[in-house]
Amino acid sequence: MTTALFTHSDCLGHETPEGHSERADRLRAIWKTLEDPAFEALDRREAPLAERSELRRVHPEAHVAAIEAAIPAEGHVSLDADTHVMSGSLTAALRGVGAVVSAVDAVMAGEVSNAFCAIRPPGHHAEKATPMGFCLFGNVSIAAKRALDHHGLERVAIIDFDVHHGNGTQDLLWDEARVLFCSTHQMPLYPGTGEPRETGAHGNIINAPLPPMADGAAFRKIMEERILPALDDFKPELVLISAGFDAHRDDPLAQLNFDVEDFVWVTEKLCDIADRHAGGRVVSTLEGGYDLEALAASTAAHVKVLMERGA
């Protein structure tokens, strides 16, 4: 078996205003690096458009309708200071959700060992009825619900190592006892949530913030002390990753000092968890990462590990 790569050119069609960090070039940089012969064995698949019923797994219909209604024929409309929509945004977002849903389906069906979804806009800041922080829909939360409610799993873990707290995932899955949501993130930083005391309605959330300037050693320590043991106790049947690469030392939007090797390390550790409890099933989805070179290198290294472990 192999690793699937789900993506779609429509994800470039969500164009953000000039100078915006979350830009189509991020995806182009990732595609370019994955063209290398080293990634030839990837099972490359086009992300379908998600059915609206998938969005309703975590969002009220009014949220979907409000985003749809906000889409202008021309130019941009700002939903908040960071989050903008234009004519191609809804299609891009539906491809993103379609990617994660299909990735879960493919992994659950045993067609592939694991999968990476190279999509944008990202999703982990989108709350039930609030698009924010570049995000429209909770992509990874939808993937978790798909695995639970469609495939009948009982335990799904989400690990979010994006440098910003996944407030959206936390909001969408706050009272979902079948999900263990674990997040490492810089604090203080946007969006201001993610304190260790925020533990979810059933103790199903673990927030492990890191101070500014924390490096990979601090990240590995907190993963080994708090998150990896909790994952082993939880015994997930599927491991989902919110893979933001903006904790890299070169990222312009934060101040953590991770290196590519730290992303390799965490990917290996999460694959170990998946091997022990989930038959190796991992679905990883792109979140942030705004230095194009660091993003491409980190993503490539992350996907390389998935391929090695999924082979």
């Binding site: 915006h20 960090s21 908040d80 200071a81 960071d82 800041h125 922080g133 570049f134 910003h164 407030n167 203080p188 930083l189 946007y190 969006p191 201001g192 949530t193 500014p212 312009p252 939007l253 934060a254 101040q255």
Partner: protein, 80 residues
């Protein structure tokens, strides 16, 4: 944001703005793209506050006392 350069701010000015910055960061009312600039501003303000505090502490330490412990004046800082 105060127009006075941070390095020219009084302790009170820097502290007041630092409190505003911390409040904004904590209540999540800051845009993702601005969050990092705000943190950096907060860091500069914190350093300014620390520098002013340290200078004040050094002045206090320089107060000279007589044998009974009553202050008699200050001594030149670089004389220590």
């Amino acid at each position: 944001m105060n127009d006075t350069p941070v390095e020219e701010m009084s302790f009170e000015q820097a502290m007041a703005e630092l409190e505003q910055v911390v409040q904004k960061l904590e209540n999540g009312q800051v845009a993702l793209e601005e969050s990092i600039q705000l943190y950096e501003r907060g860091d500069a303000l914190r350093k300014r506050c620390e520098a002013k505090l340290q200078a004040a502490e050094e002045k206090v330490a320089a107060i000279t006392t007589d044998a009974a412990g009553n202050p008699t004046g200050t001594k030149a800082f670089d004389a220590q």
